[in-house]
């Protein structure tokens, strides 16, 4: 209210209250006076530049010609450069994502093949050692239909079975 920061509706409601309440009115008056006086004094005690000092201060500020960055660098241009850079990065990222599978396809195939081969070897050796103790070979004679079965142990030595 004192600083005149309120909306017109609030001001009118407070003014209506102040008319009825002497205590609040006194409080308001004291606030107003303190602030008005302070503002008044601030106005009365204003400093100003001596023209020569002002000119010197400005000359000092513009002394360094490099201070002002070239006209290419004003903020809107910088903004444009920033957007352009972001665009280029976005395109590059998209291309990378699109092209990556092709590169990876060529690049990873041998690796996966090697991996599967290694896995097979490992499994095979484990299988041979742990399970395939006996190898069975069967020969079927087409003329007679007779079957001959050979059994070998894991060292490929012939075993005779009944």
């Amino acid at each position: 209210m004192v600083g005149k920061d309120l909306s017109p509706s609030k001001i009118s409601s407070i003014t209506a209250h102040l008319e009825k309440c002497p205590e609040c009115q006194q409080e308001y008056d004291s606030y107003s006076l303190a602030l008005e006086k302070t503002k008044e004094w601030i106005e009365e005690d204003k400093l100003d530049w001596v023209e020569r000092e002002w000119q010197q201060a400005v000359q000092e500020a513009v002394k360094d010609k490099e201070s002002v960055i070239s006209p290419l660098a004003p903020w809107p241009f910088k903004k444009a450069w920033a957007f352009a850079l972001m665009g280029v990065l976005a395109v590059a990222l998209t291309l990378l994502l699109v092209i990556k599978p092709f590169f990876l396809g060529e690049g990873t195939a041998p690796d996966s093949e090697l991996l599967s081969r290694t896995r097979a070897q490992l499994l095979g050796s484990t299988f041979q050692e742990s399970q395939q103790e006996v190898i069975k070979m069967t020969l079927v004679l087409p003329e007679t239909g007779q079957k001959i079965v050979w059994f070998f142990d894991k060292n490929f030595e012939l075993e005779v079975k009944e």
């Binding site: 004192v2 600083g3 920061d5 006194q26 008056d29 004291s30 606030y31 006076l33 303190a34 602030l35 006086k37 302070t38 503002k39 004094w41 601030i42 009365e44 005690d45 204003k46 400093l47 100003d48 530049w49 000092e53 002002w54 000119q55 201060a57 400005v58 000092e60 500020a61 513009v62 360094d64 010609k65 201070s67 002002v68 960055i69 006209p71 660098a73 004003p74 903020w75 809107p76 910088k78």
Partner: protein, 192 residues
């Protein structure tokens, strides 16, 4: 129209026309100086702050977004320089003494000097209990007539924070007024 002229002057400075810089800043030179003076209470320090602010304004003018308030932008820079200066300042007796001496150098006329001294003492008395933030908010809002929103932008804080600090500052000023017996009671009574 005024905004357009300011934007034109900004463009001219950016194109290398240094004389436009003086024209651009001239309308605000007194306001900036007084803002710095009220923040520090020292004339020489205030001029140094303004000098530093002018250098920064020239250096970073390319960052100013045309169409926005140039006044708010330069006050923000000056206020930051004032805060930096307050941070660096040693609160020694020497500085306080020199501050008192310099603050009262009003002019050649002894009567004017006396009046200036009296007013400065009153203002200092009112503002002495305010924190830098409260002082800044009070000076920008009540002294220079910036809106709450503009003040919040200058001080990089929320509108709520501005209102809170402003309310606190006003309360302290009023309390200081009563405490100092600066003719306050008499005037209130005579007005009532």
């Amino acid at each position: 129209m005024w905004m357009k002229n300011e934007d034109e002057l900004v463009s001219e400075v950016l194109e290398g026309n240094q004389s436009s810089f003086e024209l651009l800043l001239r309308p605000y030179r007194q306001g900036l100086l007084n803002m710095a003076y009220r923040m520090t209470g020292n004339r020489e320090e205030a001029k140094e702050i303004c000098q530093e602010a002018l250098i920064k304004i020239y250096k970073y003018l390319y960052r100013f977004e045309k169409g926005k308030s140039f006044k708010s932008w330069i006050y923000k820079i000056t206020m930051n320089s004032a805060y930096d200066s307050l941070r660096k300042r040693k609160k020694s007796e020497d500085i306080i003494e020199s501050q008192k001496r310099q603050a009262f150098e009003g002019g050649a006329d002894p009567e004017k000097q006396f009046l200036n001294r009296e007013i400065s003492t009153k203002i200092e008395s009112c503002l002495q209990n305010l924190s830098p933030k409260e002082k800044a908010v009070f000076l920008l809002r009540d002294g220079d007539g910036f809106s709450v929103e503009e003040t919040s932008k200058i001080l990089k804080c929320s509108s709520l924070s501005v209102r809170t600090h402003l309310s606190r500052a006003r309360k302290k000023i009023r309390a200081q007024f009563e405490q100092s017996n600066l003719g306050f009671r008499k005037e209130v009574k005579s007005e009532l």
